[in-house]
């Protein structure tokens, strides 16, 4: 791991130590976030799979009803029966914060005077297969909305988990070792400077003492 390009001073080391503490704390928190997100994600994804399987199965049944209805009725009659809407279906969206991911929550709201009457056509010219088809689709609607909610949550959480995982890995394997190495490098450099100035001082002291007392006999005795 490369050492950062910083000047080896005590001030820089203190600053780096502070950054390292922050990085370690951030790493721990992000790891906790990732674990909790993962736990919730696994739960959601299981639910999503069950929902999707059931929705797809029921949708296929409903399609079969529509096919029977189109066999029993003329295309024109079928189109005109279905294309006129009796009620408008909408959803009220609220957001739930799951570990800093704002996942949507959908709630059905229907603008219809009569909740029981779902058929947008009169019964005189339509076949009973069409009634079955519309009824089955209508019963499926809450699950369809729930599927959208859960699937969107899974999508957003998967993206967030991926991002968090990258951050955790980058902190764990790049940032923290780099800080540690740089701090070690500065500490060693400072010690080295310390040792070098100490030996220099000792050397100077020796030279001064030698000059004063002439231990080596290099200097001629003073008159």
């Amino acid at each position: 791991m490369a050492v950062m390009n910083v000047s080896p001073t005590r001030m820089q080391m203190t600053a780096l130590k502070k950054q390292l503490t922050t990085a370690i704390r951030g790493h721990k928190m992000l790891k906790d976030k990732r674990d909790e997100l993962m736990r919730q994600f696994i739960e959601l994804v299981g639910m999503n799979r069950r929902l999707r399987e059931s929705v797809e199965k029921r949708l296929a049944e409903s399609s079969a009803f529509f096919i029977s209805a189109s066999a029993a009725m003329s295309k024109k009659a079928l189109d005109s029966s279905l294309m006129s809407q009796k009620s408008k279906t909408g959803v009220e969206t609220t957001y739930k914060n799951v570990m800093s991911v704002d996942v949507p929550q959908f709630e059905i709201c229907r603008e219809s005077e009569n909740q029981g009457d779902i058929y947008p056509y009169g019964f005189a010219f339509t076949s009973f297969e069409l009634d079955n088809a519309v009824e089955s689709l209508n019963e499926l609607l809450p699950d369809l909305i729930r599927l959208a909610e859960v699937e969107k949550s899974c999508e957003m959480m998967a993206a967030e988990i991926e991002r968090t995982r990258r951050r955790v890995n980058s902190l764990e394997h790049v940032m923290i070792p780099r800080y540690e190495e740089t701090i070690k490098y500065i500490a060693m450099k400072l010690e080295e400077n310390d040792r070098s100035s100490r030996t220099r001082l000792m050397k100077v002291k020796d030279m001064l003492l030698d000059k004063a007392h002439n231990y080596s006999g290099k200097y001629s005795p003073k008159e």
Binding site: V45, R110, L144, E151
Partner: protein
């Protein structure tokens, strides 16, 4: 404020959804799906956009823009032509994205 639900698909697949109060958009040509999705999604009137699997896979690049946004939720549904398995494959993609490999649904 309540938003609507949209269904984009071929003529046969969307019929029933109009009857239960969704806004339907007919698109028989997969090549035109991305442009239609863009118009529908950017109108900001829809919280959920269902698409038939065929059109869903044809508009992958357009969909990417909405991955990070909470709404609209773009969800694939099988059309009358049958189930292509995209929905379940998508689940595996999520798990792969989150975990790194599909440990849950891999057979």
């Amino acid at each position: 404020m309540a938003k609507n639900i949209a269904m984009i698909g071929d003529r046969e697949s969307v019929k029933g959804f109009a009857a239960i109060g969704m806004d339907v958009f007919v698109c028989d040509e997969p090549a035109a799906a991305a442009a239609l999705l863009k118009t529908v999604a950017e109108s900001e009137r829809f919280a959920i956009i269902y698409m038939t699997e065929e059109l869903f896979s044809a508009s992958a690049r357009e969909r990417e823009k909405y991955t990070e946004r909470a709404t609209p939720a773009i969800i694939p549904l099988p059309g009358v032509r049958g189930n292509t398995g995209i929905g379940l494959k998508r689940q595996s993609t999520f798990v792969e994205q989150a975990v790194g490999s599909d440990i849950l649904f891999k057979n």
